[in-house]
């Protein structure tokens, strides 16, 4: 075979070039082959016949061996058609994608081309659209409730102090990290860890206000300056978390290995349902606090008009302290639950920060209930949108809503129509 001789010479020349140091050349002397390994649910399938045809009337045959492997040498680069003889498959074993048999493949020079015929049941999406939509809706509801926990705090902090807090996402991350520390390092049950985390995060919120924001407010620092300071704080904390926690993604020991319990097509675990229930109870409790208690009413008054509330005898400083404690605690809880829903990493809070902003803006900046409604809408839109767009683009939909809302109704769904520009 002249062709092989030429190839052998080329290979030797290539090897020489590689030796001289011009970089690696493929030094395979076997020419071009098409091959594959046939497996059914992990076990090799022997005795299946393959036929290969190519240009110029070339044809070759092979049978899979005991390891399921089959190899057909081809005369040179080009396009080849591989056919699996379905009759030689064992009983009850079928091709997963019958439409891909025969399979056409292109072989390049000196290439060992692998062709895989998948066997077994077709495990591609079998759910009906309605089932998928139901599952996405449930996931969206859970995600929306999570965002709501963080968004309510952010919105109240904005309402009472005017601060657009870019470091709010770091409070969420902090919650997840503290709970991870309690659950994984100290071995406390997740529920205990969660309760303690909420306490720690409330304290963190209080301290953040006491150390940083309260003195700045007293100095009369401008709102834009405070916003930029919060960005600095966000970067500072995020990379501090990275420094101590590391860049890997972890999950709570207690939350691993849970299986979904339905109903129907919904893939939520028992822990997911528990965390949704906790979110709902906490949000309802907070709503009760805002609507029925004296302090809650004072909080809403300050969020509405700080100067007027101060003049009517409300202790604005105390209200702001309470808002920071509550905001920190709620964000911490959101972090714990987000750690269960996804996993824990140092920038998980920052990743949802823009969604929190979108929720708050959608609902109306500074209103607690607007933030709640906005969060549910954002959560459900984010998850439902994966029915139509790739999952990696799901946050884009929510951010686009943010921009559209600002175009048509800048005060948000529940916000009061007022001048915002």
């Amino acid at each position: 075979m002249r062709r092989h001789a030429v190839q052998a010479m080329l290979v030797i020349a290539g090897a020489l070039i590689a030796l001289v140091g011009f970089g690696a050349m493929p030094a395979q002397a076997d020419g071009e082959t098409v091959q594959g390994v046939l497996r059914n649910e992990g076990t090799p399938v022997p005795g299946v016949n393959f036929t290969l045809t190519g240009a110029g009337g070339f044809s070759g045959q092979a049978t899979s061996d005991a390891t399921g492997k089959w190899v057909i040498s081809v005369p040179g680069p080009g396009q080849y058609k591989v056919t699996l003889d379905a009759k030689t498959l064992p009983d009850k074993v079928t091709l997963r994608f019958p439409e891909r048999n025969p399979f056409t493949t292109t072989v390049n020079s000196d290439q060992t081309k692998s062709v895989i015929f998948a066997l077994g049941k077709d495990t591609r999406v079998t759910e009906s659209n309605a089932d998928q939509a139901l599952n996405r809706f449930a996931q969206g509801l859970r995600f929306g409730l999570l965002i709501a926990l963080a968004a309510v705090g952010l919105s109240l902090i904005f309402g009472t102090t005017g601060l657009t807090n870019f470091a709010h996402g770091e409070l969420v991350t902090f919650g997840a990290l503290v709970a991870f520390f309690f659950n994984s390092k100290l071995g406390w049950p997740l529920l205990v860890a969660a309760v303690l985390t909420v306490v720690v995060c409330g304290a963190a919120g209080y301290l953040q206000d006491k150390i940083l924001w309260d003195p700045l407010r007293r100095r009369g620092t401008g709102l834009i300056a405070m916003m930029i300071i919060s960005i600095g704080l966000s970067i500072f904390l995020r990379y501090l978390f990275l420094f101590f926690f590391g860049g890997t993604t972890k999950s709570y020991p207690d939350a691993q290995g849970a299986t979904s319990i339905g109903p129907g097509s919904i893939t939520l675990t028992a822990l997911d349902y528990l965390s949704m229930a906790i979110s709902i109870v906490v949000l309802l409790g907070f709503a009760y606090f805002l609507l029925r208690t004296r302090t809650g009413k004072a909080t809403r008054a300050v969020a509405d008009n700080p100067a007027l509330s101060s003049a009517s005898g409300i202790n604005v400083d105390q209200v702001i302290r309470i808002v920071w404690i509550a905001g920190g605690a709620l964000a911490g809880l959101a972090g714990v639950l987000l750690g269960i829903a996804q996993q824990i990493n140092y920038q998980m809070g920052f990743q949802i920060l823009l969604l929190i902003f979108a929720s708050v803006t959608l609902g109306g900046l500074g209103t607690a209930f607007g933030a709640l409604v906005g969060s549910l809408v954002v959560g459900i839109v984010v998850e439902m949108s994966t029915l139509f767009i790739p999952a990696e683009l799901k946050y884009v939909g929510a951010l686009a809503i943010l921009i559209v809302i600002l175009l048509v109704r800048p005060q948000g769904i529940l916000g009061r129509a007022q001048r915002v520009g």
Partner: protein, 330 residues
């Protein structure tokens, strides 16, 4: 500890590629934030649009280099108009949130796997810069003196970068002493007053957004050409926040503020990186406290801290004038 090496690196950082990129980004931001008072938190998007405009035109569509630059610039103008329409009538904090969201939308879309054939997905694009290096007048060899010795490629990048900085700074200087610049600064101080004088505040803000965006996009070209590739995650929110730190360090609303800020910023980061790395490899810092992998994280911690402290104690930066800062929410 090899102090000579540390100081050489710091001196090179003074005029290096990072300094050029961030100086250009911050010059654009200076027009937005320093002079007009627009809180644009999406500056990264302008750099990204320019870089991707160039990279897609040349490496996907096979257009010549010059056409790629034109598409990049058009991209920056279109970005500014699209950002401006919904936000310029709104309050400053809304503008901040929308611009940061828009920048993230752009980054998420170009890094999406479904657009891999157009944008390269999360790997980005390369092989578009040969047109730029074909113009290189330096023949093969090394140029410079003392610690500043570069090969012909780097010399060309640095030369073009610094020429662009001089041009951009001159444009800003000329603009800001023109009647247009006085209106822009008046918009920053009190836009209602400007409106009552019959000026179209919205149009002025839009012009400022476009000019600052185009100036910033020059930084995007330098980032793409200097690295020889575009990579979506280089254009994240950190780029914008670093540019803010640079601007506030040098002093907002000053023509040379961003340039000096960028040079100082990268010198300080180079010093801390190199000193920490050498201290770790010399064993002065125990690896139980910090490994050399963590040095890069210290950089971000420092930037965050610097941004906070600057804003709290010296918002006007080194050269700025406190009265010229738009820091009170309106």
């Amino acid at each position: 500890m090899d102090w000579a090496n540390i100081i050489d690196n710091a001196l090179r950082a003074f005029i290096g590629l990072d300094t050029i990129i961030y100086a250009l980004a911050a010059i654009g931001l200076n027009v937005h934030f320093g002079y007009t008072g627009l809180l644009n938190f999406g500056q990264a998007a302008f750099l990204a649009v320019a870089a991707y405009g160039l990279a897609i035109s040349v490496s996907i569509s096979g257009l010549p280099f010059g056409v790629g630059i034109i598409f990049g610039l058009i991209g920056a103008v279109v970005m500014a108009v699209l950002l401006g329409i919904p936000t310029l009538r709104l309050r400053a904090d809304y503008l901040a949130i929308v611009t940061i969201a828009a920048a993230e939308i752009f980054r998420l879309i170009v890094r999406s796997a479904s657009l891999r054939d157009q944008t390269g997905g999360s790997n980005g694009l390369s092989a578009f810069s040969s047109g730029f290096y074909d113009l290189n007048p330096f023949s093969k060899g090394s140029y410079g003196f003392g610690p500043f010795v570069y090969n012909e490629r780097d010399s060309w990048v640095l030369l073009v970068g610094w020429v662009l900085i001089v041009l951009a700074s001159t444009v800003v200087w000329l603009l800001m002493r023109s009647p247009w610049g006085r209106v822009i600064k008046a918009v920053r101080e009190d836009e209602d007053a400007v409106r009552s004088l019959g000026k179209n505040v919205y149009a002025y803000k839009m012009q400022s957004l476009i000019i600052g965006g185009v100036l910033g996009s020059l930084g995007g070209f330098m980032l793409a050409l200097g690295k020889g590739s575009v990579q979506p995650d280089l254009y994240g929110t950190e780029l914008t926040f670093f540019a803010y730190t640079v601007l506030l360090l040098g002093g907002a609303a000053r023509v040379l503020g961003p340039v000096i800020g960028a040079a100082l910023f990268w010198v300080v980061l180079s010093l801390t990186d190199n000193i920490l790395n050498q201290a770790i490899s010399a064993g002065y810092v125990s690896t139980s406290i910090m490994t050399s992998n963590q040095v890069g994280q210290i950089r971000f911690i420092l930037v965050g801290l610097a941004l906070m402290l600057l804003m709290i104690f010296r918002p006007q930066g080194i050269f700025g004038d406190r009265k010229e800062l738009a820091l009170d929410g309106r």
